[in-house]
């Protein structure tokens, strides 16, 4: 069995160079970077080197980089940290409907703290309309958070336009770039974002390290209080090894991104072109043009996502799905529902996120393995039976026999 990994949005394999860069801080240079004695020097230098490496990847000033433990932490620091620091100007925040749960879940806390949240709708491709942002802005709006690209459908937002609108009105703009960094070149100065998130694990670095870019001079309230690490913006002893690994991964990403992107583009296009010739009733989701390279998202009708993932896993293929049964929430992906896709179709989602090491052989193998799996699962599916009989597969007949209401 050929293991084929198509789940890079969840985690990327760590580069050997990054592992090497981490090694000394696991077993030799164990000092605390905040220490004044000599044991603290190498770890402290490693952090500053990584800060420079990460800053260069996104064309930022090193002092604008705040190291955190994950993209989720960075998103929390951005939203709550900026909201609390600027609440004297107003308590209205705008996000998009397809943000990562690490943004959406925070809004509950923010509402409890007296903030009001407006959620921008997206179009059928998952794009926010800049005009809608203009209309949603109020005199008391202080912060807008719209992700750079969606992790589930690959759609890239018109971030520059959104940031420009915010800048005109003196509103802070944060963007979660976790899905975008490592796939497309990022220049935060050009984007015009005040804050920008991404994690090491999306750029072939280790888990446990991420950053929040914060435009110099921007006030923020720390979420984690204690020592004066990260200039008081994020207390706690740094995860030195992971940060060193992130720095090295960022350095390598900066050098090789054009090649990686070329490969991702080519392989992704192959999937878009060849999949419909192998399997009928595939609905591709996300924007047809403004999308991340190597992100192929679709709904394969009448086949449930988790069943598909388990079957693919049996053939050695790792992928992802927005199906409720792959999540603990038991609800279909809010991203797919926001595109206007119905619940039953959204349950049929399959997400392939390719990486720099994927090859044509991986694509060939996947294209060979998928059709029999889909056929097998469709042969079990009552929705497919309805479709073959010419009936509406998605018409649930409440009142006929037994019917489960919403959980």
């Amino acid at each position: 069995m050929n293991p084929v990994y198509f789940d890079h949005a969840n985690s990327t394999p760590v580069l050997p160079e990054a592992v090497t860069a981490m090694q000394p801080y696991l077993n030799q240079q164990f000092g605390n970077p905040s220490s004044l004695h000599r044991f603290g020097d190498p770890p402290r230098q490693a952090i500053e080197q990584a800060r420079n490496q990460v800053a260069r990847l996104i064309n930022a000033a090193p002092e604008s980089i705040i190291f955190t433990s994950s993209a989720t932490e960075s998103n929390n620091l951005a939203l709550k940290g900026l909201a609390l620091a600027h609440q004297n100007k107003g308590k209205h925040i705008i996000i998009s409907a397809i943000e990562h749960i690490s943004i959406i879940e925070q809004t509950r806390t923010l509402k409890r703290l007296g903030f009001e949240i407006t959620t921008l709708k997206v179009d059928q491709w998952g794009r926010v309309d800049p005009q809608e942002l203009r209309e949603a802005i109020r005199p008391d709006t202080i912060l807008v958070s719209v992700m750079h690209a969606n992790y589930e459908i690959g759609t890239i937002q018109p971030v520059e336009q959104l940031a420009a609108i915010c800048r005109e009105r003196g509103i802070l703009f944060h963007s979660d770039g976790t899905a975008a960094v490592g796939r497309i070149a990022i220049d935060v100065a050009r984007l015009g974002a005040d804050a920008y998130t991404f994690s090491a694990q999306s750029i072939y670095g280790p888990k446990g390290a991420a950053i929040l870019y914060l435009k110099p001079g921007t006030r923020i309230n720390p979420l984690i209080e204690g020592g004066f690490q990260e200039k008081g913006r994020r207390a706690g002893t740094e995860n030195v090894a992971a940060i060193a690994g992130m720095g090295k991964a960022a350095e390598i990403a900066q050098i090789h991104l054009p090649d990686w992107r070329k490969n991702l583009d080519r392989l992704g296009k192959r999937l878009y072109q060849e999949l419909p010739t192998r399997v009928e009733r595939i609905i591709f989701t996300g924007h047809p043009v403004n999308r991340l390279p190597g992100v192929v998202s679709m709904c394969i009708e009448f086949v449930e996502g988790e069943a598909l993932l388990l079957s693919l896993d049996d053939t050695g293929i790792a992928a992802a799905s927005g199906s409720a049964c792959t999540a603990r929430t038991l609800k279909a992906s809010h991203v797919l529902l926001a595109l206007g896709i119905n619940h039953a179709v959204a349950q049929s989602s399959l997400l392939l996120t390719l990486g720099k090491d994927n090859t044509d052989a991986d694509i060939d193998y996947f294209l060979d393995q998928l059709p029999p799996i889909v056929s097998r699962l469709r042969s079990i599916s009552p929705l497919y039976a309805r479709y073959l009989r010419g009936e509406n597969p998605y018409e649930f007949k409440a009142g006929q026999n037994h019917y489960h209401e919403e959980n």
Partner: protein, 177 residues
């Protein structure tokens, strides 16, 4: 995440399919979670002689359907009605907690098929059928559930009437508008 037994039933589900002219059909669906199961049963002398199913759902939902179909076959109606979702999960070596409610609907689907069978049996005893979709009607049923049509009954013989009729096709009695 799943027990070996769940995965084995998921990979090789037993009794997949539909039964033509089934004696009972039960459908359980959850539009939020997305799992949907349709069970078909054949009954002879009060014993379930055949069970088939079709399921749209996750690994657990497919394994549950397969296990229920095996558990029900050969049982009397009374015995099959005693199968619970908890027993099914136990037979499968357990299910993850978040799958217990959402995907473990197999016993419900089987029971729905049995109820359909019992309803049909009762209806065939009374002999009344919906004049629009021909489904057997239970006593006192005034709205046909599948076609959602309100049924009018002949005031003379009590049989269901076709729409806009002025004469009962059963007894020839005149129907006032």
């Amino acid at each position: 995440m799943y027990s070996e037994k769940v995965m084995e039933h998921f990979r090789n589900p037993r009794n997949v399919g539909e039964i033509e002219n089934a004696d009972g059909v039960g459908e359980v669906g959850n539009p939020v979670c997305g799992d949907m199961m349709t069970f078909y049963i054949k009954v002879e002398n009060d014993i379930i002689t055949d069970v088939k199913f079709k399921t749209f759902g996750c690994g657990a939902a497919i394994a549950v359907s397969s296990m229920v179909s095996e558990m029900a076959k050969g049982k009397t109606i009374e015995e099959a009605l005693k199968i619970t979702n908890e027993q099914v999960a136990k037979e499968l070596g357990g299910l993850p907690p978040n799958k217990m409610h959402c995907s473990n609907l197999g016993a419900d689907a089987l029971h729905a098929a049995i109820q359909d069978y019992l309803q049909r049996r009762q209806q065939s005893a009374t002999g009344c059928r919906c004049p629009y979709c021909d489904r057997p009607l239970t006593e006192g049923e005034t709205v046909c559930q599948p076609c959602q049509t309100k049924i009018n009954f002949c005031p003379h013989c009590g049989k269901p009437l076709p729409r806009n009729t002025t004469v009962c096709p059963e007894c020839g009695g005149k129907i006032d508008k």
